[in-house]
Symmetry: C2
Subunit: 432 residues, 2 copies
């Protein structure tokens, strides 16, 4: 028959490749756990209406949306925020802060290209119910710590901004329709100076103010000095002063977390989505990639659209594909290789059961252990042990056993040791 | 607005509930890893044709099957075996044994009832490329070890049979159409004796032979004695003798794994699916539940339907929902509760940054740590630490710090200790 293939934009990950992915996912989840985020599990399919709340009807075009056999309009989740909003709304008894993480698959129906898969993993990390600078800082610190643990802290920069600060500045300049103007600022990086000014004028901003916006949104860099520069150049206004003060406070808490060096201030960071209300941030590689690794921010008025409660929120969805590319570029992507603690080699059938007892003992201690399943020769078994990267091979033979010993061989150095047959498990455990 | 609800048969699992699930999933995956099974990751959506290979057109009726925006017929995977078959076929370079596990969601569109969810987790554990008794035993031993680790080995029984043995016995009795007859045997438990005999006659079996089949398929119990009984009663035939011999061998290997007490022989176990070719087994609770916890077996001729290679296989899909019910019944379902190693309590804003440094130190050691995000009073912070089940609270106050100390409080016993301020992290680590 013809070979069946997987769908485009969907991936088969064999054990070697997945071992590397698993290491990254574990690092992200371990960091979330250390910060006190709690794992949840939620549906991968939701009523399409859930996504319409946040994204309108156009969501149907960009997702796997279909009618189920009961005639319900349903969608494979393209993101978890709407589901989380539903979860927060339906349990009025949840105390705050509500700190959740979850790694699961998401699906988008879009043109397949590099970094744009139709099925992909994300880890969502959010704090619900708290508006404080401390919550903002905890989210940034958690994200930064992930990159520290991945060994690439030096190559990642978090560009921070505050939508309220930008909004206050625009209002102090008497700019109307700040959301439309923010959308122009969001695109600034892709525009020439003239195009940027022209686009602002199209939104009703006069030329002089447009130039002022251009100058202000050029402010970026080390947080404290950028904030001082902004204070100098910004138009007078209490709201802007308060927002700048809040950003200074954020800097102080980030410093306590010791991640302030990974953070810069950048007044041009807006993040497209309308629903962000305060802190916004994007993680960038300092290796010159134009696309953000991922981003996040505060969205204090989104959850109220899903129910009766007002619940402030801040968080991000960690994207794996961009980070994978960065780690590969920097040589920090884990080895795509199997790892095995021990292979139990049996020289003849007569010692098979004793070999299995050793395997059982080693497994009870949590080790990854394989044994012969096919009656292979000694040479073939050594070859197999090598192929699965066994650290040690426990060689069980009848003659050795009669002398009360078993041979433990280090597969890397080749060094071998005769070990009393009752001390095999302890011996291997001591070495690992 | 109206509250939005999840779809029927789909579950929201909040942190407390998911903590218990996580413990069970971790136990299953840890066991698979110890036995040398390697994790893979594969698509959750596949072309519908992939499932037609094994299950025909009717699969469309029982699954989430739909047309994607590109006009492709696609299906949310109801099981992973077809995908695994595809993966095995498309990589001719894979050495054997191929030992894979993966925990992921599966979807079935069926009437929602107890134990029948539309979205559910399964862990698939398979060995491909090996036909041996050792592989069969490893699969059973792995499954049995899961229940040992879950603390319910005494309440779980694996009922084993061999389709080849049953087939050989039927042939020795000159029964035609052994697959149809096996389908009747598969239903035996639900039929009265008369119904069973009648059903066999409908398949063309004469009355005397039907009674003989009834008698033989009643053979069950402790493996060795059941096999002896079978040898006595079975019609003469080399194939049957060989299959009985193989079952004895399996018993020997299971004994080396020390799981033979959890296994019984039961000639009436067939498992509905036509594709099983050798060993079949079902795990049952000894608590009187009629439905199997899960089952599995050898399917040596399935994978060749997905490509050009013949690849023997044995495995099972661990089902969580049945096991959850058993664990709850036996009081072995984990506590549905959060767990937290330490809460860092700050008495005033002035010590916030020092508190965060302690939190950072404790987190670096892998502990789950929370801090105040909302400027709560000392009482409220203790209340929160209690709510998240913090084992220790680190109380950071200005007066204490001036005296060079910090208080570490055991939240269970209430016992507290003044700890030199530079030894806080070590102190908490020593206690945990």
């Amino acid at each position: 028959m013809d070979e069946l293939e997987s769908l485009k934009g969907f991936y088969d990950r064999y054990p070697e490749e997945w071992a590397a992915w698993r290491e990254i996912v574990d690092t992200v989840e371990e960091t979330a756990r250390e910060f006190g985020f709690r794992e949840i599990d939620a549906p991968s399919v939701e009523p399409t209406d859930l996504f319409r709340v946040k994204s309108g009807d156009e969501i149907v075009e960009q997702t796997y949306s279909f009618e189920d056999k009961g005639g319900r309009e349903v969608t494979l989740i393209p993101e978890q925020t709407p589901t989380r909003s539903r979860l927060v709304q339906q349990r009025k008894d949840l105390g705050t802060p509500i700190k959740w993480f979850d790694t699961s698959k998401r699906w988008r129906y879009e043109a397949v290209q590099k970094g744009r898969d139709r099925e992909f993993f994300q880890t969502d990390i959010d704090i619900f119910g708290v508006e404080s600078v401390e919550a903002d800082a905890e989210i940034i610190a958690c994200a930064a710590t992930i990159y520290e643990k991945l060994g690439v802290a030096d190559a990642v920069e978090f560009r921070l901004n505050d939508r309220q600060l930008l909004d206050a500045l625009l209002k102090a300049m008497d700019v109307e329709g700040s959301k439309d103007v923010m959308r122009v600022i969001d695109k600034k990086e892709k525009l020439s100076r003239e195009e940027f000014l022209d686009n602002l004028e199209l939104e009703g901003v006069d030329r002089a103010t447009a130039e002022e916006i251009d100058e202000l949104t050029a402010i970026s860099g080390e947080m404290e000095s950028a904030l001082v520069e902004l204070s100098d150049k910004a138009p007078e206004g209490d709201a802007a002063d308060d927002a700048i003060e809040r950003m200074h406070d954020l800097y102080d808490v980030l410093s306590a977390y010791d991640v302030e060096d990974m953070c810069t201030f950048d007044l041009s960071i807006v993040r497209g989505m309308d629903y962000y209300t305060g802190l916004v941030f994007e993680a960038f590689s300092t290796e010159g990639d134009l696309r953000a690794l991922f981003g996040g921010g505060r969205y204090d008025h989104l959850i109220e659209q899903f129910g009766s409660r007002e619940v402030p929120a801040i968080g991000f969805a960690f994207g794996y594909s961009t980070t994978m590319h960065l780690l590969k570029k920097l040589g920090e992507w884990p080895d795509e290789a199997l790892s095995t603690d021990a292979y139990v080699l049996t020289i003849s059938d007569s010692v098979r059961e004793i070999g299995l007892e050793y395997a059982k003992g080693l497994r009870s201690a949590g080790l990854t252990v394989e044994t012969d399943l096919t009656g292979r020769s000694v040479g073939e078994q050594f070859g197999y042990a090598d192929r699965i990267n066994a650290e040690y091979t426990v060689v069980v033979g009848e003659r050795d056993l009669n002398e009360g010993v078993v041979t433990v061989q280090n597969m890397d150095s080749g060094e071998e040791e005769q070990v009393p047959k009752n001390e095999v498990v302890e011996n291997v455990l001591d070495r690992l």
